[in-house]
Every structure is written in C-alpha cells, then in structure tokens.
Chain length 234, copies 2
C-alpha cells in the first residue's frame, strides 16, 4: 500500500535516458564545467534511482567522449582539448561542406520545411541578441541540413562536432556577448536557396565560407587579448 507512489515515478527503462539527456545537456551548457567530478552516489540521490541505471548513462556519455573515467578512481567531465582545436576545425569544416552538398543533391520536400523551422528559431535568437540561443539554434539548423543529406554517418559525426563547438563557445560567451554575427542569418538564407535549387557546388562554397566564418569567430574569441595591463610601464 505504502510503496505505490514510487512505482510510477519512472516508467521502466525511461530513467537511464533521462539521466543521459540531462547530464549531456548540463555538460554541453557548461553547467557542469570540464573537470567536474561525477559522483555516482550523488546522482543516485538526485534522480531517485539506484546506481545501476546511473552507471549505464555514464557509460554512454563516456562512449561519446563527454566524460572521462579514471579507472577505480573518479570520473570527471572531459576537458576541452585546446591543443586539438586544429583537428576540430578541420573536421568541422569538412562536415559543414559535405552535409550541405548532400542536402543540395538528396533533399526531399519535407526537409526544406524542417530546415526553415530551425532557421526561424535562429532568427529569433539573433533578434533577441541571445548568444546562447544562437549557438544552440545554429546547431539545430545545420543538423536539419545534415539530415536532409541522408547520410547517418555524417549526421552523427557532425552532431558531436557541433555540440563540442557549443561547449567551446560557452566558455567565451559572457565576455563577448555584444559581438553578434548577424550576417549568419543571410548566409543561412543563401544556403537554403542553393539547397532548394540543388546547386551542389554553390552549396559547397557557401558552406565552406560559413565554416570559415565560424572558425574565425571561435579563434577570435579564444585568442582575444583581454589583458588590461598590457601597456603598463615596468
């Protein structure tokens, strides 16, 4: 009689994906910053689940590289690898190009409306000067494009790369939230048109330029010299 309320808290099997998605979001949005320790017991209390399903979610996150498990010791949120940034930019640019190309050649009717929905959300974020929203909706827009390209291998890799990008940009957001790359909206529009016209090479070059823009922006965030006392006489 007394244990009836606990039963319906989670549908059997739903708990682990809830934990997975929640933690995944918190990691990407830096609510859990890199290096944060992940305590299984704590999560067990938080989600009102035993450690077993928690552990399952953690294994999934580890497979994606979002967390790092030090065997028998601790598991922490993976650090952002700044030395590996060139690799990241290379892969990101390639995926931008390939997915946009494929979208231009393979898309169906419905794909365009899905892309347009994401583009609208992106416009709203830009209008509101919501940098965090822009980062998130830009990701969704390009994933919609990738899905129109109909290649699951690219979609998967691209998703991972864009999420990694969100994590990186989050680090720099607060100090630069007035630098709003408004031109992205127009670039997205051009890309949509090229896709509709099935102009593969135009789509490619637009994606390439777009990727360069974004890489340049991330680079500028990262290398920005914010030392206030650089000119101080010594």
């Amino acid at each position: 009689m007394e244990e009836t309320e606990r039963q319906q808290l989670h549908r059997r099997g739903s708990g682990v994906s809830t934990v997975y998605e929640t933690l995944r979001n918190e990691i990407i949005e830096l609510k859990l910053p890199p290096g944060s320790p992940i305590d299984e017991q704590h999560l067990s209390d938080r989600f009102a689940l035993s450690r077993t399903p928690i552990r399952e979610a953690l294994v999934r996150l580890a497979a994606e590289g979002l967390i790092t498990t030090l065997t028998n010791r601790a598991t922490i949120v993976s650090n952002i690898d700044f030395l590996g940034l060139p690799e990241f930019f290379d892969a990101l640019t390639l995926m931008y190009r390939v997915t946009t190309r494929l979208a231009a050649s393979n898309h169906a009717e419905g794909d365009i409306v899905a892309i347009r929905v994401q583009q609208k959300a992106f416009e709203v974020a830009v209008a509101n000067r919501d940098v965090l929203g822009m980062i998130a909706t830009n990701r969704d827009f390009h994933i919609a494009v990738a899905q129109a390209g109909r290649n699951r291998y690219y979609v998967e890799l691209f998703t991972r790369l864009l999420d990694e990008g969100r994590r990186i940009l989050r680090l720099y957001y607060s100090s630069f939230n007035d630098v709003l790359p408004r031109q992205y909206v127009g670039e997205h529009e051009e890309m949509i048109q090229a896709i509709i016209n099935r102009d593969v090479s135009l789509a490619d070059s637009l994606a390439s330029a777009h990727a360069d823009q974004i890489v340049r922006q991330i680079r500028s965030y990262i290398t920005a010299d914010s030392r206030q006392n650089a000119g101080l006489a010594l």
Copy 2:
C-alpha cells in the same frame, strides 16, 4: 579458503573490456551473425561474470551501433543495412581520401614505420591467399595511415566504417575466395610513397582510386549473380 581461485580470474575492471572486445570481434567476424540474439544470462555464464559488467559492455556496443536493443524484449546483433550502402560508400570514400591527404601533410618519421609494418602484414595475407586476413590487414593499414594524419575524429569514424566493411565482406568471402585483388599491394605502395613525399594531391587521387576499387569490389560481390540455373530452358 575455498573461494580463493575465483578472485584472481579477472583483475577488477578488466572483465568488461574483455567482454566488449571479444563480442566486438565476434560480431565483426560474423561469428555472431546479424540478428543473433544476445542473452545476458548466457554471456554471464560464459565469462564467469555477473550480469552487471556484461550489461556495461553491451551498452558500449550499442553506442557503436553494433548491437540493437529492443527495450524490455531482446537485444540482437545489428543487421547490415543494405539499403544504406550508398551512404556507407560515400562516407568510406571520403574518409579514405581525407585521411590519406592528412597523412601526407602531417605524418612524422615514426608513422611511416608503423604504416610499413601493416603493409608487410597485408603482403603476407595476399601471398597466402588469405582473404579474411587481407580484409583485416587492409583495415589496419588504413587505420595506421589515418593515425599518421593526426585527426582523432576521422580516425574514429574511419575505424567504424572499415569494421562495418569487414562485416559486409565476410558475408561474401566464402563464395569468392579465389578473386584476389592483388593490385592492392601496389596501390598501397604508391600511397606510401606519396605520403613520404608529402604530395597531398597525389595521395588524394590515389586514395580516391583505391576507394573506388574497393567499393567496386564490394558491389561486385553483392550483385554477383550466383544462380546456377540461370540459363536453364523452361
């Protein structure tokens, strides 16, 4: 006193990776054919482990797409998606090209010897007319090249694609084991030379041709008409 022998069977934490690697191999080598049911209890008995570490290994395999879990029902070895083969070929070709290009521009001294080691193994397999060995060593060769290119994103995707390719080719091996693509050895040699000379565009075109070869070979295996009575008069 009596339970001393069980303790040293596995070092703490080693069991799950053993299970993971063993199953992974058996799936790739079609020892576990697509659609095979994966019974946790059975595996628990087989590896002399509780179901918990088994489950952990299965979650990892599922994240890689090698097994499919039907919730609350069963978990089976993932089917080979023949309808998705064009996507597969597209991604495979792109990764052949990109990794070889990067190897040409980014490789260090040590990378070449690693590549040569794999190439030797490949030559041996070809000399022995060992098709299965050829498939495996060809994979190792190209992964060595990819590693020389120094981009972990590409290495990871390429590894998955090549392993998926091994699975596909295994399906056709037995009926075509006298068709030995000997020219691959020479093509590998050319690629190595282009990499050493840091000739990126030559490396690219060689990789592209090599990929076309392999895609064509897989296609020919798959579409080969093996009907014995095709000419039978009716």
